[in-house]
Symmetry: C2
Subunit: 320 residues, 2 copies
């Protein structure tokens, strides 16, 4: 396996180049304004519907940017993923015409493994959570000519996710605040770097997957426990170094949301907007329901709905 590149934040040129590189391949996902009054706020609330992206999450951006940037050996690419990154790597590898091997923790929903396979990747299911899958993927890759695509902590990945931020700058130029769900922090870092000098970008973490919070408290990324309703997509366990640097240098404290707020946010998105987000994809939105983020009257807050890889409709089981 190639040694991982030195982890460094992408520059503004890297971010712009990634956006140009990705434009013919990724969807320009739409934004939609909803009535802030329905959420008890006098702010203008705009949803960025990134769950409509290829593979059902923003991860398609970072994965494809990596494959279009690096020279990939004949052995192809390897990734470990709770699901969304794996599907993205499988999709990107298919676009780039290289093989992909994806290690998935057994705790992830079966539909995610099925979709990764549907994009043409070889799927290996590993007992445990994401860190277990990551360890297994590295053991497998150790003596092979393959490129590892990290789920969040690589410059090309962060630059790819940043293309979402550049889209937002064009779609909602008057945004005051942008809320993104934060697992490993790749989306947060990319969007924050893309919007540097513009709106405040806040990384929202589930209380039970508070990896960036823990990193900021410890002075650097540390391994923590993960659990709760969003663990399959937010359970990175260790924050990315890039995300840590971006948050620490800006003095940002990630808002923490309890599981019940995530459940309420998912219910609102489905019942009131017919948007079917997964728990991780609704985590940023949850911060408006539990009061941990209170945008000022008259301001514009953008909420990224970042993933929709679920088969569970809120309320459906009690109706069926």
């Amino acid at each position: 396996m190639r040694a991982p590149d030195f982890v460094v934040s992408p520059s503004r040129d890297d971010l712009r180049a990634a956006a140009t590189r990705l434009a013919p391949h990724v969807r320009r996902t739409p934004v939609m304004e909803i009535d802030g009054g329905d959420l008890g706020t006098k702010a203008r609330v705009v949803l960025k519907l990134e769950l409509l992206q290829h593979t059902g999450s923003f991860k398609a951006r970072g994965a494809l940017n990596t494959l279009l940037t690096r020279s990939v050996p004949v052995g192809g690419v390897v990734a470990a993923s709770g699901g969304n990154h794996g599907a993205a790597v499988a999709w990107a590898a298919s676009r780039a015409g290289v093989p992909a091997q994806v290690f998935v923790p057994a705790t992830s929903p079966p539909v995610k493994a099925r979709r990764i396979a549907a994009y043409g990747a070889t799927v290996v299911v590993v007992d445990g959570y994401y860190p277990d899958a990551l360890a297994a993927s590295r053991e497998w890759a150790a003596d092979r000519q393959v490129t590892e695509v990290h789920a969040y902590d690589a410059s090309e990945v962060v630059a790819g996710q940043g293309s979402l931020g550049l889209e937002l700058a064009d779609q909602v130029p008057d945004a005051d605040q942008v809320l993104v769900s934060c697992g490993g922090g790749g989306l947060f870092a990319g969007v924050a770097l893309a919007l540097d000098g513009g709106p405040m970008v806040l990384p929202v973490e589930p209380e039970r997957c508070r990896t960036l919070h823990a990193a900021l408290a410890a002075g650097g990324p540390v391994q923590g426990e993960v659990g709760g309703v969003a663990a399959d997509s937010m359970g990175a366990a260790t924050a990315g170094r890039i995300a840590y640097e971006v948050a620490a240098s800006r003095g940002i404290t990630p808002p923490l949301v309890p599981d019940d707020a995530i459940v309420t946010a998912r219910e609102f998105l489905w019942e009131r907007c017919r948007i079917l987000a997964e728990p991780g994809g609704a985590t940023a939105f949850a911060s408006l329901f539990c009061g941990v983020v209170r945008p000022a009257a008259g301001t514009t807050v953008v909420v990224v709905v970042s993933g929709g890889n679920t088969l569970e409709i809120p309320g459906a089981t009690s109706e069926a």
Copy 2:
């Protein structure tokens, strides 16, 4: 009960006034371009995501325009519906601050009655099917000062649905063709009138709910049989007179799509775009899968995804 107004097509001024009237209340639903190659076409394909509208379908537009246009008596409004129209009337009445009485057949899914009640309407469940609910609603309304809101064949309703067409003219000014699902024809008529002189607007009907097709063959609306996967939202049985006049005067033959194309279109929208449409909402899109509509290379076709009131995810049963 007030006698229904004489059925007449809305004028261009009516359409523009409706759009202005509705703007503070309805969502400007987003559009998203997808890769035509995934559908086997070299045309540019743009989805208009109207299922994200309040109440989960375009019906909110026509219902609210009616309530904001007419002087509604103190008794409020009455409607019979187990589906999208009932939810739209309940929502619109709540916005307009008037009471709503919605008669629902006992055979309708409980979730639909629950949603109608959640918007503040009084729900009366009537034994039997839609005609029984309609009869009960008219008996109830006979000696009361209430306004009946028709589901599709009234000038204010068609003008309200037309606001979607005016949005499209702004969002996709270079559209060559617009495909809309057609049940009673209110959406088709409104969008066709709004885009008069612009792109061709085609009303797509399920083979088993071909009411506009039958009207054009008979020289006027006739009652027909309805069935198939989209009957719950497309089974108007009799086309609207306004829709008939609009189609006949333009020499339009509605494309017909089989049920399996509707199923395939729904699967594509969910699996590839994370858009969860109901069968009626995916009927226009189905025309691109069965070859009944073949847009020319290089042209731009807009497909309205018009409703999302479902609890069934394609493929979910085999995963659960």
